[in-house]
Symmetry: C2
Subunit: 204 residues, 2 copies
DNA sequence: GCGTGTGAATAGTTTCACAGCC
DNA sequence: GGCTGTGAAACTATTCACACGC
């Protein structure tokens, strides 16, 4: 079911683009190509979600996006914060795509007061001590962790206690989180390992 | 089988840490907890790979790492380059974990000469025009793409023609690559979408 | 007893085949 | 003819059960 969610998220992104460019209908085949799967799988996903298309035309772009948005609440604007304002953290603070796609980074945190004072960004930045208070008072639902490995679990704990629903983890450690909290790891080293290993296996 | 590769990559990373801290043996249970799976799955993976442990002791850390390293060629140092030296690209240029774990970023590329001249890093930086030549002459096997969406496919094509084996793609577009080339997408917006959507589904 | 090794059972996912519809 | 919708088939992955070894 994770695979379905992942595909739907990609489809949703693709539909946003198609909607801009004025497309009315789209086939399962085109969607499949756009996200890298098969048309069967796309239709099966929609079938499970009870989403209907039109014979010979495909799916209506606007209403498909609308339905997926409602079912997965991708239509709702969500607030996020970034903890750890090193190079990666500051790069993400100003990552323009978030803003366009329903996510708003509304706060950054770092343990170094110096760094906080030096940072140039439109987004509010705070010392980590303010984390719990800011997260709950501003209704932040998603935490992005870009702190060094040894601080990551502690930050995750604070974020969760303050009420975030999910964590995007860029630190290379496996975080322990309660199972109602969603955690997604983006470990760059592992990503390169995966690419290298897969190349070896598939071309053997 | 992708799942197995992914788990092995995580295990390999965990073993590197364990090796440093001097651990001799490790059980399938501990490995499973470390990477977020079950002990059955870990043992099954090893079984398929024909890797043996010791009754009542588990697996010998050093030799397990060695064996995985050989089978998936994770023991080989691999060279990578980064194309697109915006905030994310420059953050990755100096991402310290790569260096420790068998990957070496040996070149950066950008289309702006200005940017190239201003960048402060120990790593060699070049105009994109030099991409094909540098990649093939220096034996770069992995390309990391951090250019804007509209330039991503073109860069991917050049990288592939120059001989890279895999691409780590940070741009939010789906790249077309021949099927012997490994591509891995890290789309941050999609990651947040996935977290939000999964939370909605699992807590419904 | 404790932890591995693995065939068998189960669960989950993708693909296929084809009926239905405009 | 072209594209959807979906049950069935095929495939893949995980979990279980238990024999084995120290």
């Amino acid at each position: 079911m994770n695979n379905t969610i992942e595909r739907i998220c990609k489809i949703y992104g693709y539909l946003a683009v198609q909607e801009q460019s004025g497309a009315d209908f789209i086939s399962s085949k085109e969607l499949a190509e756009a996200i890298g799967t098969t048309e069967y799988t796309v239709r099966k996903d929609f079938s499970v979600l009870d989403i209907k298309g039109y014979t010979r035309k495909g799916y209506e772009v606007k209403s498909l996006k609308e339905k997926l948005g409602v079912k997965f609440r991708l239509n709702k604007e969500r607030r996020a914060c970034i903890v750890g304002l090193g190079r990666l953290g500051t790069a993400l603070l100003d990552y323009e795509h978030f803003q366009n796609d329903g996510f708003e980074i509304i706060a950054g945190f770092d343990s170094s007061i110096n760094k906080i004072e030096r940072i140039q960004t439109k987004i509010d930045v705070f010392p980590v001590g303010a984390l719990a208070e800011v997260v709950s008072s501003r209704g932040i639902e998603l935490g992005i962790i870009t702190v060094p490995a040894k601080a990551a679990q502690e930050i995750a704990d604070v974020l969760i206690r303050a009420g975030v629903k999910g964590i995007l983890n860029f630190s290379p450690v496996k975080l322990n989180v309660p199972k109602d909290i969603v955690r997604l790891d983006m470990d760059f080293t592992n990503a390169l390992r995966f690419i290298a290993a897969k190349f070896v296996i598939q071309n053997k």
